[in-house]
């Protein structure tokens, strides 16, 4: 495995499966403990560097690090030198100099984590591990891993399962990471969205594109609803929120078209009544909170593999 986690495309099936297995081992190790503290990353410094607002991802990385006894430091752009005009590179080099073993990066520009990985690499190839916690409209690999773990737990296996990704694929880093990872893990991925929310070039992705959600639902093992961002709603990409909801929202009627075993995922934050019905969001088939729990364990596994696993292989 690479020293960084920048894209799910870099993960082989064996590596991805190993991360999911590791996440479940961490879950087991913590089960029933009063003191949720493993010594695994004692003495390691994990810095989260967030240039965008986030609740679940940042918290989940912080908890993951702390449960493994890492020193976790949270840097947010609004309260750092970035707000004074410091370049991304200078911020990254500063954090390396301050002793970061891992940099967890969330940034509105696609490729930001890639660039930080390049800039902070020492000449001998060492340097902090960089984890992409969401870069622009590119990728969000740990989200895809926690989704995969959730699907594996709910469905038993991912191989051969038919999984739909519904919504704003064009602007979604979650969609990109999931399409690649789920295909790597052997799933059939179907993408369903208005044409305006599909990127030109999607035909090269390992997915099939469908236009009717209703027609697909009865054959699905899982459906992943993407949030529709408010700034896309007013007439630019589709006529109205109402029309979107009618065409692509997972309301109660549509929910009932799914097979009984099917799982509903949403990366959050959810817009109830828009892309997901109020009652659907709370249905037992909906795994949103399980996704969050798994997020912590997956991020523990990723931090462990990048910070300890890499030392063992040296």
């Amino acid at each position: 495995m690479s020293r960084h986690l920048l894209t799910t495309a870099a993960l082989s099936r064996v590596e991805a499966t190993a991360i999911l297995d590791e996440a479940e081992r961490f879950e087991q190790a913590l089960l029933g403990r009063d003191v949720k503290k493993l010594p695994t990353l004692r003495g390691k410094t994990v810095m989260t560097v967030f240039y965008e607002n986030s609740t679940r991802t940042r918290v989940s990385f912080e908890v993951a690090g702390k449960w493994m006894s890492a020193d976790v430091i949270n840097v947010s752009a609004s309260s750092s030198s970035a707000s004074k005009g410091e370049s991304l590179r200078d911020t990254a080099l500063t954090l390396r100099a301050a002793g970061a073993d891992a940099l967890v990066v969330r940034h509105p520009a696609s490729g930001a984590a890639h660039r930080i990985a390049d800039w902070t690499a020492n000449a001998d190839g060492t340097g902090p591990a960089v984890i992409n916690a969401g870069d622009g409209t590119h990728e969000h690999p740990t989200q895809a891993l926690l989704d995969a773990l959730t699907l594996r737990q709910r469905l038993g296996d991912i191989e051969g399962r038919r999984i739909a990704i519904v919504g704003d694929v064009l602007h979604s880093r979650v969609a990109r990471s999931n399409a690649t990872l789920l295909a790597t893990l052997g799933a059939e991925v179907v993408v369903i969205a208005p044409r305006t929310l599909l990127p030109v070039g999607i035909e090269t992705w390992p997915v099939t594109v469908a236009s009717s959600l209703d027609a697909e639902l009865p054959a699905l093992d899982a459906v992943m609803m993407l949030r529709v961002q408010a700034e896309r709603m007013n007439g630019g990409f589709f006529p109205s929120a109402r029309e979107y909801s009618i065409g692509y929202g997972l309301n109660q009627r549509r929910f009932e078209l799914l097979p009984e075993h099917a799982v509903v995922l949403h990366p959050g934050p959810m817009l109830r009544g828009m892309e997901i019905g109020f009652s659907v969001a709370d249905a037992p088939e909906t795994a949103v909170l399980q996704q969050v729990q798994n997020g912590v364990h997956v991020r523990m596994a990723v931090l462990f593999r990048l910070l300890i696993g890499s030392e063992e292989t040296r």
């Binding site: 370049s87 991304l88 590179r89 940034h107 520009a109 696609s110 490729g111 930001a112 890639h114 660039r115 390049d118 870069d135 622009g136 409209t137 590119h138 990728e139 880093r173 990109r176 990127p199 030109v200 070039g201 999607i202 035909e203 090269t204 992705w205």
Partner: protein, 430 residues
């Protein structure tokens, strides 16, 4: 003052000859010229071409002298084999008045390494709202003959129509940066599979082609001449072919980077590869090469665009678009056009020198290599390969995508009206 080019092969043809230039004019082309007082350049059988003419250069002076000056840009041009360059108008202040265009022209003359012809802005401040004083700039010392809002498209169709009509009356050329701005909002990369995967906002081919088609039709009806800057798509090639077959007075340039690189370079997110129009797909590169060979695309122009390190060493979407071109252009053209068998050296002379000079009506550049013609020539060693080192370029900036790449052919000597403006020393040949 005289220069003797010893053992050179005009257009790479025939046996080596000696070429004597006296008082700026070629006076003898013979097997063996004896000129004891002349400065001798030993060509060693190298190719002799007319000096190159670049219709599209950003020299950044006035305004961004931290990235390039008329002095360093002139040196870069001379080292690239150029004897005339056209300095784009997007300086600060904008070259939208005779004060600025004449200043650039005079500074070029003072430096003296290359003829710098200022390009005048089409619209005041490049804002696309009102025509700039094209007639006054044309009548000034610089005699501005090419006008462009390059960096911006003259997007308003009525304003473009008026600009073409007005330019036709003056006998000057409008060079269009063909980019429909509504189709490229926030765009940073060619719209296609690579950008889709990398999550980069796409710049569709249609944004260029829609303007090329529109402007061809506007030029037809205005009886005007229009020049398309940095053609980048296969569709633009088809439109140019169509328009030329209609007899429309349209010409076009292609950059070396669009002849050589494609969007697979974006994988690293290194902003050195960010350029406008963006690097396209391999199929576009192939179409542009064919079009340059056939003459559908008239000439090569560098779009030499120096940028400061801090404007490139950042997020891809934050970086300024553009790349250096002057010192690598010939080598990239040789790699993409000569080594592939698409052009011979006559063809290189055509696309690098003769056609660009014709397009803007320069009478002292792009001339035949013959007795009585200007001693404005470039000597190219076709057999030596070199490795580009960004930091060693004459340009003040280092934003070349060709850094560390080995390329064929070296410009060994550049002569402007009988004066040697560049001579490569052996220590420079790595």
């Amino acid at each position: 003052m005289s220069v003797l080019l010893h053992r050179v092969r005009p257009y790479g043809e025939g046996e080596p000859v000696d070429v004597l230039i006296e008082d700026g004019i070629i006076t003898r082309i013979e097997a063996d010229v004896d000129a004891p007082s002349a400065e001798v350049v030993d060509g060693g059988g190298a190719v002799l071409l007319p000096g190159f003419v670049d219709l599209h250069t950003h020299v950044r002076e006035p305004g961004r002298e931290d990235t390039e000056t008329i002095e360093t840009g002139s040196a870069a041009a001379a080292r690239g084999g150029y004897t005339a360059i056209f300095a784009m108008a997007n300086t600060s202040p904008v070259a939208d008045s005779v004060v600025v265009t004449d200043h650039v022209w005079r500074r070029g003359r003072e430096v003296g390494l290359v003829d710098i012809h200022p390009v005048g802005a089409v619209t005041v401040g490049l804002k696309g709202a009102a025509l700039a004083e094209m007639g006054t700039m044309h009548a000034g010392d610089a005699g501005v003959r090419l006008f462009s809002d390059d960096g911006h498209c003259v997007a308003d169709p009525l304003l473009m129509r008026r600009a073409l009509e007005y330019a036709a009356g003056l006998g000057v050329v409008i060079a269009q940066h063909a980019e429909e701005p509504r189709l490229t909002e926030n765009a940073v990369a060619h719209e296609g599979p690579t950008a889709a995967r990398l999550g980069l906002t796409g710049w569709p081919r249609s944004a260029e082609e829609a303007i090329v088609a529109r402007d061809a039709i506007l030029a037809r009806d205005a009886g005007a001449r229009v020049h398309i800057c940095h053609a980048s798509t296969a569709g633009t090639v088809q439109l140019l072919d169509w328009a030329k077959k209609q007899g429309i007075a349209i010409t076009a340039e292609v950059t070396p980077h669009h002849l050589f690189l494609d969007d697979s370079r974006l994988e690293t997110y290194d902003a050195v590869n960010r350029v406008n129009p963006p690097l396209r797909e391999a199929s576009d590169v192939a179409a542009l090469r064919e079009a340059l060979a056939s003459g559908v695309v008239d000439c090569v122009a560098t779009d030499h665009a120096p940028h400061a390190e801090q404007d490139k060493c950042c997020e891809f979407s934050q970086a300024r678009p553009g790349m250096l071109g002057l010192e690598t252009a010939l080598s990239v053209v040789v790699a993409s056009m000569v080594e592939t068998g698409l052009l011979d050296w006559r063809g290189v002379a055509r696309v690098m020198s003769e056609r660009p000079a014709e397009i803007v009506g320069l009478t002292d550049q792009g001339r035949p290599i013959a007795v009585g013609e200007p001693g404005t020539v470039t000597v190219v060693d076709p057999d030596t390969r070199w490795t580009v080192a960004a930091e060693e370029l004459a340009s003040l900036s280092a934003n070349t995508p060709f850094d560390a790449l080995e390329l064929p052919a070296v410009v060994t000597t550049t002569v402007l009206r009988g004066r040697v403006t560049h001579r490569r020393t052996t220590s420079e040949v790595s």
